[in-house]
């Protein structure tokens, strides 16, 4: 923070002349003001900017070295008890969403805002109302300057104006009362506002990310082929019509593709093939190809067969679709396919069946077995253990699972982020700001033509806000052109330069 002064911002009071109560309120106000302006001064500091930028840079490293968002136990395994406690309490397992990291970004945001409020208006005023008539003496105070004498006065002012114009400068000329003239020339003024545009763009981007974090959401939808799911937080649904993988000739995977249909108000309103890098966009929601797999809790159909226990042989198999009821050929029984898990497991506490994994390690199907019209049993039967379960109670024969057809699903990431467009707007503004800040320089040249004994003295002095090396050459060229075109001779004073 700049240490400008230690004075109280309220200004000097005159304690003797006012009564107690008034003095009390004055002091109170001063206290608030003091705090307020102290905070203001804290944020109106460019040292703060540099320190916060560097601090944020350094502490961000933590999040790239420590694995983020892992299960809590894994930190104890990787770093030991003590360090794990530190990492978790400092939220280093979720660095970029931790309160202290957010605070740093917020400080940057306030810092930019305060600095802009403080600096922009005066800058705007001085730059736009710059004095265009001036005393030629100021030229001698510039570090880039040159002077030469001409034997005749005629037309130097016009020459100056012409040369400046040719170099695309804008000019303002003045006649001097005692004869002679001054010409003020400038260009690239707008470059001065590049930094302000950049800062404004940063505020926009920040705003966009804040909007996104409050109003946006992300979810993952594994959609089975031919099924329709409701999109969370939305009033429409999507259906997966097809999923397939493209391969290169070498066998490497080239692309994952899904054909999605948006169903809104009961009608198909939009159909699109999506792949990685090509999302579907509808009503502010985006649907991305994110992964794929086969369903772990559903199948297309199952291949069943009757096992004749007396002859120890298996009948020809038959096919049952999901939810379908089929008669077992040559018997009074029929079956319905009602359940599937890819990796059978049984929870003793809740007495429920679940799948241990998405892999088809221990696939099992559940059937409803009917004798005539009446349901007699609902067994699980296993692909890996044919005949282990007596599927038809009390019968001589059993049902075995001979095979099944899986249903592929396409992993669709759905995302809504209303802040994204604000962020993009900020990025575009930043591009413009950078262009102005880095490639448009504010150049100013002050020139004077004054009658002196035996001729005319021409003086030029220039200033640029950055890139002085380039400017020195341009300045030299301009001076050269003026001298040549006005018929000047060898220079009287030559280019001087202060470092």
């Amino acid at each position: 923070m700049e240490k400008k002064s230690g004075e109280t911002p309220g200004g000097p009071g005159r304690p003797g002349s006012i009564d107690e109560t008034v003095r009390e309120t004055v002091r109170e106000k001063a206290w608030y003001k003091r705090l307020g302006s102290g905070v203001w001064r804290f944020f109106n500091s460019l040292k703060l900017t540099i320190s916060v930028l560097l601090t944020t840079a350094v502490v961000s490293i933590a999040g790239t070295v420590i694995p983020q968002g892992q299960p809590v136990e894994s930190y104890a395994v990787d770093y030991g008890e003590r360090w794990a406690r530190f990492i978790l309490s400092a939220r280093l397992n979720d660095t970029y969403h931790s309160p202290w990291f957010t605070s740093l970004i917020v400080i940057l945001g306030i810092n930019i805002t305060v600095c802009t409020i403080e600096r922009f208006p005066p800058k705007w005023k001085t730059l736009l109302n710059e004095k265009t008539s001036f005393n030629p003496a100021i030229i001698d105070r510039l570090s880039t300057r040159e002077a030469f004498e001409l034997p005749h006065p005629s037309g130097v002012k016009n020459t100056l104006e012409r040369v400046f114009k040719k170099n695309r400068y804008r000019i303002k000329s003045n006649e001097l009362p005692e004869g002679g003239a001054t010409v003020y020339a400038w260009k690239g003024l707008i470059g001065r506002f590049g930094s302000d545009m950049t800062h404004l763009s940063l505020i926009l981007i920040l705003t966009g990310t804040i909007i996104g974090s409050y109003r946006g959401f992300r979810d993952f939808l594994p959609i089975l082929v031919d099924s329709t799911v409701d999109v969370p937080n939305a009033d429409f649904s999507v259906r997966l019509d097809r999923f397939w993988i493209d391969y290169y000739d070498t066998g490497q995977i080239k692309q994952y593709n899904s054909i999605l249909t948006v169903v809104d108000g009961g009608r198909d309103v939009l159909k699109k093939q999506i792949w990685v890098n090509e999302p579907l966009y509808y009503k502010g929601f985006r649907f991305y190809q994110s992964s794929y797999g086969v369903a772990w809790d559903r199948i297309k159909d199952a291949e069943l067969a009757l096992k004749r226990l007396d002859k120890n042989e298996i009948d020809e198999s038959f096919n049952v679709g999901w939810g379908e009821r089929k008669e077992i050929p040559g018997t009074a029984y029929s079956v319905r396919l009602i359940g599937y898990v890819s990796d059978f497991a049984f929870d003793r506490n809740t007495k429920t069946v679940f799948s241990k994994s998405g892999e088809a390690t221990n696939p099992a199907v559940r059937l409803e077995v009917y004798e005539g019209p009446s349901l007699i049993y609902t067994p699980w039967i296993f692909l890996n253990y044919p005949g282990a379960v007596q599927a038809i109670p009390g019968a001589k024969d059993n049902i075995v699972l001979a095979g099944f057809r899986t249903i592929p699903y396409s992993g669709i990431a759905v995302n809504k982020d209303p802040g994204t467009n604000v962020v993009w707007a900020g990025c575009i503004l930043m591009g413009a700001g950078f262009f102005l800040a880095f490639f448009v320089y504010h150049r100013r040249i002050w020139a004077s033509v004054e009658p002196v004994a035996g001729g005319t003295l021409v003086r030029l002095g220039g200033m640029i806000n950055k890139n002085p090396l380039g400017f020195e050459r341009e300045f030299k060229d301009i001076v050269e052109a003026v001298r040549r075109e006005s018929g000047g001779q060898t220079p009287k004073g030559s280019m001087e330069e202060k470092r």
Binding site: I50, L53, T56, G63, T64, Q252, K254, Q255, N277, A413
Partner: protein, 300 residues
């Protein structure tokens, strides 16, 4: 893909290596003897070397059927290409041939390093699903000509701009080192023929800043185009992946550099140190993240 199909790019690569060696030697010689014709020869060789690396990139694109920015080897070649072009532009504008001795030596070492990379970083692979992001308008434009497979996309734009940024930062870093060297001699009043032939310390300082003034916008465009692409591919423009985070770290360091310079009026030594720190971050961003930290970015 087999080596046999890469014959053209390998040939150009060998040629480029040879010409970088020649160029570096010529610039060295120029620095030592300061003869006009040596300097001109050095620049001429530099142009030939640039042409050769350009041809490496072009032939590589022809062989692989996509823009040549898809593995570490290709990215190194791109880096060398951008650095040389940047240097030649600077030489043309500011007449600073003595600096060529340093820049071209670095370029030569870089190209040798690229040739020493293990094969798995060099081979031409078809693009995996996430890397296929061609611009549709360009595909439409090229389809009538039958060359739509060469259409570019966000990946190419992202890598290209990022690497131009890296190259500018590398030049700035070199200039900062030279500044520190030269200023050291100036401050202690030591005369040294070779050091005195370098541009004066103020020029070195200014040029180092100029390089950053180019590198910073390019890095920014690189980061932003990466965000645009990520928004297509992963559904979010920012994911705090190590590469992303390190690019932000680097960006902040150079932003601090600019503010120190523009708002606090820092010049010379102190800004040279920030530039050096910034380049260390760039190196980590380029190599460190790829080899040390796990993440979604395949190589660069």
């Amino acid at each position: 893909m087999t080596e046999a199909k890469l014959i053209m790019s390998l040939m150009f690569f060998t040629m480029a290596t040879a010409f970088y060696l020649l160029t570096a030697l010529c610039y060295m010689l120029y620095w030592f003897v300061k003869r006009e014709w040596v300097g001109r020869a050095a620049t001429a060789f530099a142009y030939i070397a640039t042409l050769s690396v350009t041809m490496v990139l072009v032939s590589r694109a022809g062989e692989s059927g996509h823009a040549p920015f898809s593995n570490l080897y290709e990215s190194m070649v791109l880096f060398i290409w951008a650095m040389t072009i940047g240097y030649l532009a600077m030489e043309k504008r500011y007449k600073t041939k003595e600096l060529g001795a340093f820049v071209m030596t670095i370029a030569f070492l870089a190209i040798v390093a690229a040739s020493l990379l293990p094969y798995r970083f060099k081979s031409v692979e078809p693009l995996n699903p996430a890397l296929q992001s061609k611009w549709k308008w360009m595909v439409h434009l090229l389809t009538p000509l039958g060359v739509q497979k060469y259409a570019l996309g966000w990946l190419d734009f992202h890598v290209f701009t990022t690497f131009v940024g890296y190259a500018a930062f590398a030049i700035s870093f070199g200039l900062s080192l030279m500044f520190l060297l030269r200023e050291g001699f100036e401050l202690r009043g030591i005369k040294n023929l070779l050091i005195d032939r370098l541009p004066d310390s103020r020029t070195l300082d200014e040029l180092s800043y100029r390089a950053i003034a180019w590198g910073f916008p390019f890095l920014t465009v690189g980061i932003v185009s990466g965000a645009v692409w990520a928004n297509y591919a992963w559904g979010t423009y920012w994911g705090w992946d190590p590469k992303e985070t390190w690019s932000l770290i680097t960006w902040f360091i150079y932003a601090a550099y600019l503010h120190a310079r523009v708002t606090r009026g820092w010049r010379g030594r102190r800004t040279a140190y920030i530039s050096a720190i910034g380049f260390l971050a760039v190196i980590f961003l380029y190599w460190g993240v790829s080899f040390i930290l796990p993440g979604l970015h395949a190589y660069a």
